[in-house]
Subunit: 396 residues, 4 copies
């Protein structure tokens, strides 16, 4: 590798940041129950503390996505305190995630609910979330809607679309100058027959209707079997509509496994589309990378460190694609050469350069090992064990 390449990779790594979700440190599970971990975080302070551990050993996760309902139980009033807490732990508050799916009023939807009062309640919560984001100096408001229906005929799909158009347009007016709405799509769960924002096409159209600061958020688990996700990424880049990612992996549905655990080549290809766009345009893609995983069985902090490291590795592999060569092979339809060019980068051993970068940034060479040796896990396990024991709940 040339010194120039080294420098380029180091620069890219310096600006490559992955946001951690506060809820990824809490006890989560499936509809069949939760397996409780002694070290799981409950309060926003614990979550920020855990996140700061990940940042300390990886140097690449300085911000934490927060959930309004769970992390700001007192709403906007709490924002200054949370912002300060984050600073104390050496991280900052990242994207703000409203919650319009958990309250009992949202049984039949939020912005898509046939009841105008409930739509208004949802809109107010969303607007408050924008205000919170301004108070925490967060740029992005990340919107996931659970809206939909479970049975054919029980809801009017087009009317609900219209209500979404209206609600999102109103919300957009509350954004600050540099802020963004990131709109997520998902084809199923918890609504099983239809989801109001089912795919990237619906998200893009709604975002365009809402206003210029609304972009699309791609959650890797929110697709159909066999769907080519990197093509969706390429199109969103081309349309200027890619706002961010929720990283995770899955086999069957929205499994929320750690990224790269099932299909690492796919995530590499996604990074490759982004790197190619940057190589062609000479611009830096304005994308929020976020983790959104459910660590039901793995230790939560360890799973985060593992994910961040894996993302760095796959990103560096994508950086090392020989774009010039590849473009030539693509133009000439030299399929085998083009493919080998891409795969060579995927299979490349990038640990040496990552170690080099970590050393030069005074980061531990083995982040997971460093965390394990810190004694943090043992300490918080002791401190939090009792409360977590009481957290056990039953499915039925």
């Amino acid at each position: 590798m040339t010194p120039q390449q080294y420098e380029q990779v180091f620069d890219a790594l310096d600006s490559f940041e992955i946001e951690l979700p506060s809820w990824g440190f809490a006890n989560t599970g499936t509809r069949f129950g939760k397996f409780i971990q002694a070290a799981a975080a409950t309060t926003i302070e614990e979550k920020l503390s855990d996140a700061s551990q990940v940042h300390a050993v990886t140097g690449c996760s300085p911000s934490v996505a927060v959930h309004v309902l769970w992390d700001f139980p007192n709403g906007l009033a709490q924002a200054p305190q949370v912002k300060q807490l984050a600073r104390r732990y050496g991280v900052r508050i990242g994207s703000i995630n409203p919650n319009v799916f958990q309250d009992q009023i949202y049984k039949f939807g939020s912005l898509g609910n046939p009841d105008a009062e409930i739509r208004q309640a949802a809109l107010e919560h969303l607007i408050e979330s924008v205000h919170i984001s301004q108070a925490t100096a967060s740029r992005d408001i990340s919107l996931w809607f659970a809206d939909g229906s479970n049975y054919p005929g029980t809801q009017n799909i087009r009317k609900r679309r219209q209500w979404f158009l209206e609600g999102l347009s109103q919300l957009h007016q509350h954004l600050g100058e540099n802020q963004r709405l990131l709109l997520e799509y998902k084809p199923f769960e918890p609504a099983f027959y239809h989801t109001d924002i089912a795919d990237w096409g619906m998200a893009l159209l709604l975002a365009r209707h809402a206003g210029p600061q609304a972009k699309v958020l791609v959650d890797l688990g929110h697709h159909y079997p066999s769907q080519n996700i990197e093509q969706v990424v390429a199109w969103l880049l081309a349309e200027g509509m890619l706002g961010g990612f929720h990283f995770n992996d899955r086999r069957y549905a929205d499994d929320d496994l750690t990224l790269g655990s099932i299909d690492p080549y796919q995530l590499f290809r996604i990074f490759h589309e982004i790197c190619t766009w940057e190589w062609e345009t000479g611009e830096r893609a304005d994308i929020a990378y976020m983790i959104d995983q459910s660590h039901n069985l793995k230790g939560k902090i360890e799973a985060m460190i593992q994910s961040v490291v894996r993302a760095q590795e796959l990103y560096v592999k994508a950086l090392l694609v020989d774009h010039e060569k590849l473009a030539k092979h693509q133009q000439s339809c030299e399929l085998v050469d083009a493919e080998e060019c891409l795969q060579r980068a995927f299979y490349r051993d990038v640990s040496p350069i990552l170690e080099e970068w970590r050393r030069s940034r005074r980061l531990p060479l083995d982040p997971l090992q460093a965390f394990r040796q810190s004694g943090y896990l043992e300490r918080v396990s002791r401190e939090r064990a009792e409360r977590n024991r009481d957290a056990v709940t039953s499915y039925a």
Copy 2:
């Protein structure tokens, strides 16, 4: 329709029974939360009472499947009392469903757990469930295992298979003479990378290894996209290994929607395979039909009535296939005629004959209407509302 056909359909309807799941009357939801219903049942008495309402208006659901952990919190000792409760409400206890997935010890599996002590604990719970079934005079023990793993490499698939072989063989020895083990398969959720009993092939092989009284249970939601379920049913019938069904419907994953709500033609085809087998062999298929649905949004008792009625309708349609004609067309590969013969039965209006049957059995002609007019729902909503309000829980 000839009088003979009428009689045949009436006979078939008289012996067509669908078992109701006690947990289908309780508050259930997704991993994102539960929407609480005022009328939801909590105690086994409430569940039996609700089930008896369904039976009263449909005349075809005289038994109730129970969940050991939720319905027998005191285990075997409680069995006589539950049995008596059922009798009081005019129903009987049906299949017994052990629960080896909810306790914290089952985090990494039950019969497939690498820890021999946990495997033993699971086996003991299963054996106790057999004893309960004997105390309640239930025939079937219905086994669903959540066992599996979330990440490649984290568990040894073949070792776990071996442990399942051993556990199920031991369990089989505890069965009474006429009892059956019904073994369920499921390709995903809550284990996301591999499920120990992932498909009908694995279930069949495990059941064969376990002993002659072990059969396979088909849950309609436990398949891959595009899988031809009626073919699996046909094979299980041919192999003498079909034990029963969990009826429900789905679009994407294991959505547990009410049966026939998404793809009614599929359920009709399943019934058709069974009716064809019976027509060819002159025997009555020994199959336990059970509902296993999650009524997250629909009223629970109403959803049950709707499901039972829909199942009756689709079953009668399948009864009315002209088997002789169809067999002839199949033998001659007259595709259009064969298909029209089948579809004619599917599209046939069976409400007149069902009404006739209901009238002759002194059942309400419109079961849903009859239930609504009974005032039952209003009464239990009042009685149970307060407790259900307290049942609200949060996802994180």
Copy 3:
């Protein structure tokens, strides 16, 4: 049913037309070979003759979609003759289907090919197709592109998108005043890694870029497993972008089976979305209904008749939904009532009203039977048998 409803259904049936594809009368197969039918059509005259038989007995398929490469081997010059042939057989030429996938030059794509000369050749064929459509007085040019790639990295997805933008915009300029481009999407096959127009979102964006007369064509077999197609239809209607359908059915991939043969409830729901849109807006949806099926095993003309009749039945069922009642239940979130309202229409026996309509329009009451009795099949089987015998080809 009220006389008013009768009239409404009769009116709707009078204007409900399904276009037949000329290629649906020819020998087709899979990549593993073709099973040859003695009666299969080869020339455009034979295809028009066969199509006219379907129209004669159903009264609802007066137009025939044609494939430029197969039906106009001499291109534009042949258009007047084909138009006249159609008139002679009592049908008219419907949508024009260019073919930019079969020639050897299209190995790596047509409008998306990296080679500018090949893109130009494709564009010229497309423009000639527009000219043909003008010569045959056809309204729609129906565009399906096989473009894509088979291996990650071998083509530049965004560049190809750009070439499509440009080509389609140029093509749009050649349209006559009332003409339309109908743009089809398909997620796979014959390109296996990425298809340039993979889903409805890509088709919609390309169509919008191309111009106001470009709309989206929905082929029922061109989706992912589990995808909710009627929701896509509802969105396209709402966006004013639904141009037409290719009807067929499938289980696993793009199986091109006869419509309603696998999931009839799905097609009913699609019609329901259209009928609802018409009920709400008071307008008539401007949609081209076309069949696109591959009759590998069924008799080709019989399969067409069966399909047209099934489409009529499912359409009439959708017409009979009580929209007022349904809208009320939807607004009040009365799920069970809303669903029952929809399903009641689906299960309704519509043969009486269809018979009535056929009688009043002097059509045979049983179209399939009428065709069989006509002796047409026997005659053309004799006439075409020898040539078809020579059509046998091998896979490898």
Copy 4:
């Protein structure tokens, strides 16, 4: 790496053989047509010649699978000549693939056909194939059946199963002492509604019924979306029923892309299950590795070399898993450690050891490069170009 590990890997590579399919060198395509390659092979001699080129540069593909219909147009009589041809080209004849799907009589099936005479004809072809295998000294007869149906109700699934039971049992009696029947399964295509041998469970049951020398063949493209293939492999190993593989890769259906091109981690995991089984039992798994790909766009010989090399790489990665360590982590449910242990092997750079092995076996260090420099492709392109030009066929 220790010298002992080196030796172990070298030994494993020495005995790792991948069989090449003769049809992979011929022009193939999709149902939409074939793109013709000048260098494509037509005769069995050309195919053997091409295969020998792959073996010459990789040293690991000494045998060629043949298709009876295409490679033995004169049947058994031709076997000695083909065997000798193979010897002349330095390869040997591998598995024999009967063809009971292409002849017009097989329109409605072969061994599953309702017509007893056609079943008999199929059986005779299969028996002749066994005789051919004996004449060519081939061990395996590889059976893929296209049997099935396209529409619900048109065939009797259980009757067809019974006919398969009978046919396969009869066929089994003709096997020589050390021969095997390898039975393939496939859930769809070219039959679209039901395939008679749809999944591994059906294949296993049929093979068990047929006799002890019948085993299951796993084609990587013959599964449902999301299915965990390595689990199927693990079960087949545990049941003693794994006979061989058809390697390829796919995104949506049975795309027949080059192996490892879409999901390389999956193929690695499959090798890992095999290596684990061998490590635990101390035995060598008796598995036939075969390529079955359709090189529609890539150069056929180059695609083969690429595939063989990729398979070697992924196999070596799987060999390098630290089984002892992994087993310990699995037993203790140390998920992150177990997963990292597996992924470390996957991401390992194995080019040095493969180069070392190639050097020591006097093989070219870069097989693809060596082939390109040989001039073979240019020569056969010239020789075969004209005939291939005439091979162009049309879809309709």
